[in-house]
């Protein structure tokens, strides 16, 4: 079902951030050596939700004002957040990168589609796109940094 209203899109954003947060929390438990990174991602997820909500409540003066802007298909942004028992760190990071790319696409599309609203709204979405790009790069760097570790190498190759 296509989402048209800003509140539906914000609810979807909240759900996606929540799922992504749980994924990183689970990852942090599984890999204590990188838990600091993963928990900081989980914390950022909460921040993204707050940022979007703050702009929404600050700029859109009533819920219906943003009721005609979006054409978001939730199915396009379904993310896989289940960590399999035996998954290696490398594969888990690979899954995280895929998830981040999908989330980035969701915010990119939301930014594009909300251009007819006050500029603060697409700007808020665009800012999360940028922050997610940094996160993707950080995740990629984790892969590179850990390449020399045996466990990591064997799971990559």
């Amino acid at each position: 079902m296509t989402l048209n209203t800003a509140s539906e899109v914000i609810s979807l954003s909240r759900k996606l951030e929540e799922e992504s947060k749980s994924f990183y929390q689970a990852l942090a438990q599984r890999h204590p050596e990188l838990s600091e990174h993963f928990l900081s991602f989980a914390k950022e997820n909460e921040k993204y939700t707050r940022e979007v909500e703050r702009v929404y409540y600050g700029v859109i003066t009533d819920a219906l004002e943003g009721g005609f802007t979006f054409r978001i298909e939730p199915g396009d942004y379904r993310i896989s957040t289940k960590l399999q028992e035996e998954i290696s760190l490398a594969r888990a990071i690979g899954a995280a990168i895929k998830m981040e790319e999908k989330l980035q696409k969701f915010y990119m599309d939301s930014a594009e589609q909300s251009k007819s609203l006050m500029a603060d709204i697409p700007r808020a979405f665009a800012q999360i796109v940028r922050k997610r790009q940094n996160r993707i790069e950080e995740l990629r760097a984790m892969v590179v940094m850990n390449l020399n570790r045996h466990e990591f190498r064997s799971s990559v190759y």
């Binding site: 048209n4 539906e8 005609f68």
Partner: protein, 337 residues
């Protein structure tokens, strides 16, 4: 004397500048104000600083006459507003009176259609058209039939797809009218439009309602075409989800049509041409002016002002104006020996 959440245009400024504040909500929608007063209470505002008094015209009259009340702010119809403004004058009270509106949304042939349509849907049909910043008349500027027909078709198609239903369901795009009276009023304007010869190309009188709700207050988006500036439906505030479409050959004509209105609250132009935008912003007689913005609501740090019969007073709501309204100014002339 303020409807809905409009007291927030004033109360934070009044309290911050050391005043006490009495809200008399509209008797038609008092609940949001009760909630707000509870929040003020919860926040620890001392008793007597933020006050809520319910009632109708009698209560308003008592507030205006009360000697301890220094100023009145009002948002509502121009007719009642004029009366209040007059009484405030007689009592020597300062007043900010914001009245009715009939807002024009002017679309130039160079407008970005895909961005303009959602903005217009919000403007005309958000809140079911029940706000003073709603679009009311859509003026499509085009001598060419191609652009006019294409844009009109996009506008009507988008309006026809609006999901009407229970307003707290987040997938719903348009809720009900605030009251049965309100719906009746809108229906009577639709009848009026038909009798005046306008062509109802989208009829919202029998809306499809999402969910199992009685149709007591629901009305769907309606669009009239072939509307002429002299028609009642082009002049009076309908305060509902009814768009009147007018056609102008050029920007000058569009501005001239809009400026003929006795109201001047929030008019907007949709264009990608800087010259058209500048012409519009300088020449349109409107307190709030939008460039590619459907609801021209200023942020709280800017004054909210109407013109002509949409506003009575000198200082506007919000921003610096309202700070001046809620304070006394002094000039100190000094010399030291």
């Amino acid at each position: 004397m303020l409807p809905f959440m409009v007291p927030l245009w004033y109360s934070p400024f009044a309290l911050a500048t050391g005043n006490t504040f009495i809200v008399k909500p509209s008797p038609r929608d008092p609940i949001s104000q009760v909630k707000l007063a509870e929040l003020f209470d919860e926040a620890g505002i001392p008793p007597g600083v933020y006050n809520l008094v319910h009632g109708g015209a009698e209560v308003s009259g008592a507030l205006i006459r009360h000697p301890d009340i220094k100023g009145i702010t009002f948002v509502g119809t121009s007719k009642v507003g004029k009366d209040i403004y007059q009484k405030c004058g007689e009592m020597g009270k300062r007043a900010i009176v914001q009245g009715a509106a009939k807002n024009f949304m002017i679309v130039m042939p160079d407008a970005n259609t895909s961005a303009t349509i959602p903005a217009l849907m919000t403007s005309f049909f958000g809140n079911s058209g029940q706000r003073c910043l709603s679009g009311a008349n859509l003026v499509i500027v085009s001598e060419e039939d191609i652009f006019y027909n294409k844009f009109l078709d996009a506008f009507v198609t988008a309006a026809s797809k609006i999901k009407v239903g229970y307003g707290l369901d987040e997938s719903i795009q348009m809720g009900p009218m605030q009251s049965v009276d309100g719906k009746e009023r809108v229906l009577s304007y639709i009848e009026r439009g038909l009798s005046e010869g306008a062509n109802l190309v989208l009829d919202g009188r029998q809306p499809k309602i999402s969910g199992d709700y009685p149709d007591t207050c629901f009305i769907g988006p309606s669009v009239f075409i072939d509307v002429k500036p002299e028609m009642i439906i082009a002049q009076e505030e309908i305060f509902g989800p009814v768009a009147g479409v007018l056609r102008a050959k050029d920007l000058d004509t569009a501005i001239e049509i809009a400026n003929r209105s006795r109201y001047g609250n929030g008019n907007a132009i949709f264009t990608s041409n800087g010259k058209s935008a500048r012409e519009f912003q300088y020449r349109i007689e409107s307190g709030n002016v939008g460039i590619n913005i459907g609801i021209v609501a200023p942020m709280a740090f800017f004054p909210f002002g109407g013109m002509k019969e949409s506003f009575m007073g000198i200082l506007h709501g919000q921003g610096r104006d309202v700070i001046r309204f809620f304070t006394e100014s002094k000039v100190v002339i000094q010399r030291w020996f």
